[in-house]
């Protein structure tokens, strides 16, 4: 057992670090949850992809570098340590792409992946519905068979990135009206659709911080051709589960962002915290330890995958851990900022010592999305500890 990287991995790290050092924008980009910020982030995706840094783990033919999972982790560490912008393409890259690699046709891979890698097509996820949040099995939106494709109807909501994105992916029920069938997981189809298609209405929703980070989508007989179905019609649940595993596990929250945030937190603490405030000191230490624990847990998981293991229910451990760590990190930072902790990042007198306010608000959503932490704890208890199913 060791924690040393190979010479090739170290060379990969050095190459990524050198590239990032010259390319990362000197000033932070405007929030990607605004129209202006979205287009600035799209431009950054193009910069990344021009040198094949946008999707390092993908095969070269789709714009990647064929990087191993450890190299991907290394890239993420360097990316966040360099203070590079958040990824506006993450829904596509982290959620849709893994599903396509597992269930997509060659035609779909060739058509969809390159423009995703380049930022030319930015994807929104359209999972949730007004009556179906973490309980995806109770989805009601429908896909009705028509000549050469499907007609989508219904309402999706809290769709991340949908206010400004180009296309979306989600699950639709084939068995119209029968939302409480005995097997609610059956009869779902995984489909992709353009957000500017005829019959789609996008209404941005203000998030807790007021930014239109997500949207509700009203679908009225939106035509989708057969080639935009992923996997078999009616098998959407199984297809989607491969995606949610990725979402909760490695790809949504690589450790790099937490180790980088922990480093920034320590710098903030050293720059002027009251040395006698041991309660605050202990919280800083716990955040640092938590980030390290998450990094090491991920290394161990990556080592298992590299040795031929599969990603399983342990992704639920990850999801609960990183979402709670993220809040603790940001709350500690805001407390360190004292009276400045309440200021938005856009405030004229906002502290220049790292933008914590926006990250804090975003961290609050962590225990809610990608399957609430309550759902994750049920999964942990039932699948990892073998406890019986019960009333929720």
């Amino acid at each position: 057992m060791d924690l040393d990287f190979t010479a090739e991995e170290e060379a990969f790290r050095a190459e990524a670090r050198a590239w990032l050092a010259t390319r990362v924008p000197a000033a932070p980009l405007p929030s990607l949850e605004t129209a202006e910020g979205f287009s600035a982030h799209r431009a950054w995706e193009r910069t990344l992809s021009a040198d094949r840094w946008s999707v390092v783990s993908w095969p070269e033919e789709y714009g990647g570098r064929g990087a191993s999972i450890l190299e991907w982790l290394i890239f993420e560490e360097e990316y966040y340590a360099a203070g590079a912008p958040g990824r506006v393409s993450q829904n596509g890259i982290n959620l849709l792409a893994p599903t396509l690699f597992e269930h997509g046709t060659d035609e779909q891979l060739a058509r969809i992946l390159p423009p995703m890698a380049s930022g030319d097509v930015i994807w929104a996820q359209a999972w949730s519905e007004p009556e179906a949040g973490s309980d995806l099995a109770s989805l009601r939106s429908t896909a009705v068979r028509t000549d050469g494709g499907w007609l989508l109807s219904g309402q999706k909501t809290w769709s991340s990135r949908a206010a400004f994105a180009d296309r979306a992916f989600g699950l639709f029920r084939g068995d119209q009206g029968d939302t409480k069938a005995a097997e609610p997981h059956h009869g779902l189809t995984y489909l992709m659709f353009p957000l500017d298609a005829h019959g789609v209405t996008v209404r941005p929703i203000g998030r807790l911080d007021g930014k239109p980070a997500f949207a509700e989508l009203f679908l009225d007989d939106v035509f989708v051709p057969d080639q935009d179905v992923i996997g078999e019609p009616g098998q959407g649940w199984r297809v989607a589960m491969s995606t949610t595993g990725n979402e909760r596990g490695l790809t949504l929250r690589s450790p790099g962002r937490f180790t980088a945030a922990a480093d920034r937190l320590v710098a903030l603490w050293r720059s002027g915290a009251d040395p006698g405030d041991t309660a605050l000191r202990d919280r800083v230490a716990d955040a640092v330890i938590g980030a390290r624990a998450y990094q090491l847990f991920t290394y161990a998981g990556a080592s298992r995958i590299a040795a031929g293991g599969a990603v399983g229910a342990e992704t639920s451990l990850n999801k609960v851990f990183w979402s709670e760590l993220d809040i603790a990190l940001h709350e500690t930072a805001l407390d360190l900022l004292g009276p400045y902790g309440e200021l938005s990042d856009t405030a004229g007198e906002a502290p220049a010592r790292g933008s914590w306010a926006e990250g804090y608000t975003f961290s609050l959503a962590g225990p809610i999305y990608a399957g609430t932490n309550e759902i994750q704890r049920d999964i942990i208890a039932e699948r990892l500890l073998g406890l019986p199913k019960g009333r929720r």
């Binding site: 057992m1 924690l3 390290r292 090491l296 080592s303 049920d378």
Partner: protein, 329 residues
């Protein structure tokens, strides 16, 4: 990078686990707490035969080590079975003597530790703890003060611990064994090793507390259903698992860092110590709560694990000291 135990390390863990399971440690723990050290020393010999203490002793003194990763594996299994005695302290003495730079002293004690003949205890007076664990049951009690190390001649009255199987006492008197500038550095190294294996031991304790509680929750019925089907029970157990799962890689990485003489090893060990001990204590609280009054019953073996978890939290680095060290420049 391969951050996983290899086949040999896993086989070692399994064989120790099997041996300790068969040994029926709860009776050994209860005897030890009552002052009867014979069953504990018999088990000590079997652990020595399995190579546990040799892992802490360098090859030139009849050992196999020092092998921090394997020591971590061994202490996790010993924690899993709540093995009593100055296990941590004996390994720490080996680490101390290995770094002392006095071959004559090392040649006397290290082979005896490796073979299991000698159970030792250690008191680092500079480290703010006035006690030596299980001094009454140890063959030798080493006391470090400044640049001198002495062998204690006697010990004061046993101070009852949160864990009745831990019997701390003040070491008294004795003669100076060595006085040299390397003593402080060797003591620091010994404290690191002690903190590391204490963390591993806590991890094992926590694993058993969780496993037994999960078993209980699957069997115990109330209101006509097994209590493990209640969401609040499930979520407490899930949280206990999360805490242990994320503590484990910290313990392993700390051992790897120590083995590699990484300058950050002390910080890694402190992170592992506080996290593993907190996870074990949280598992103990959860175990107690879900077992209800059974968990509060001393005759029930679970109490042996619950009480040891609390005691290890303060041993070889308090949570506050560990957190301060994580942030030390």
């Amino acid at each position: 990078m391969r951050f996983l135990l290899d086949d040999e390390q896993q086989a070692f863990a399994r064989s120790l686990d099997g041996m300790l399971e068969a040994a029926g440690t709860p009776a050994v723990v209860r005897a030890w707490a009552a002052g009867d050290t014979a069953p504990g020393r018999a088990l000590w010999s079997r652990l020595a035969e399995a190579g546990v203490f040799a892992l802490a002793v360098p090859e030139q003194h009849d050992g196999l080590g020092p092998l921090p990763v394997e020591l971590g594996v061994a202490f996790t299994e010993m924690g899993r079975h709540a093995v009593p005695g100055p296990l941590v302290e004996t390994v720490a003495v080996a680490a101390f003597l290995d770094r002392l730079g006095d071959d004559a002293v090392a040649a006397v004690w290290l082979p005896a530790i490796a073979s299991g003949k000698t159970a030792a205890s250690l008191c680092l007076l500079s480290d703010d703890s006035p006690y030596a664990l299980d001094a009454h049951a140890a063959d030798a009690v080493f006391v470090v003060e400044g640049d001198a190390v002495r062998l204690a001649a006697a010990s004061g009255p046993v101070q009852p611990s949160a864990d009745p199987a831990r019997r701390p006492a003040r070491p008294l008197g004795g003669t100076v064994l060595a006085r040299r500038p390397e003593v402080a550095a060797a003591a620091g190294h010994a404290a690191d090793v002690a903190a590391l294996v204490t963390a591993a031991q806590a991890l094992g304790l926590g694993r058993t507390l969780l496993a037994r509680t999960v078993e209980h929750a699957r069997r115990r019925t109330q209101f006509g259903v097994v209590i493990g089907s209640f969401q609040t029970v499930k979520h407490r157990l899930a949280d206990a698992l999360i805490a242990l799962e994320f503590a484990q890689p910290l313990v392993r990485a700390a051992a790897v860092a120590l083995a590699a003489h990484d300058p950050a090893a002390g910080r890694e060990i402190a992170a592992a110590k506080v996290t593993a001990c907190e996870a074990a204590c949280a598992a103990a609280r959860t175990a107690l709560q879900i077992h209800g009054a059974l968990g509060y019953t001393a005759e029930f073996d679970l109490s042996l694990w619950i009480r040891k978890a609390r005691a290890l939290r303060s041993a070889w680095g308090t949570p506050a000291a560990c957190r301060a060290r994580v942030l030390a420049p």
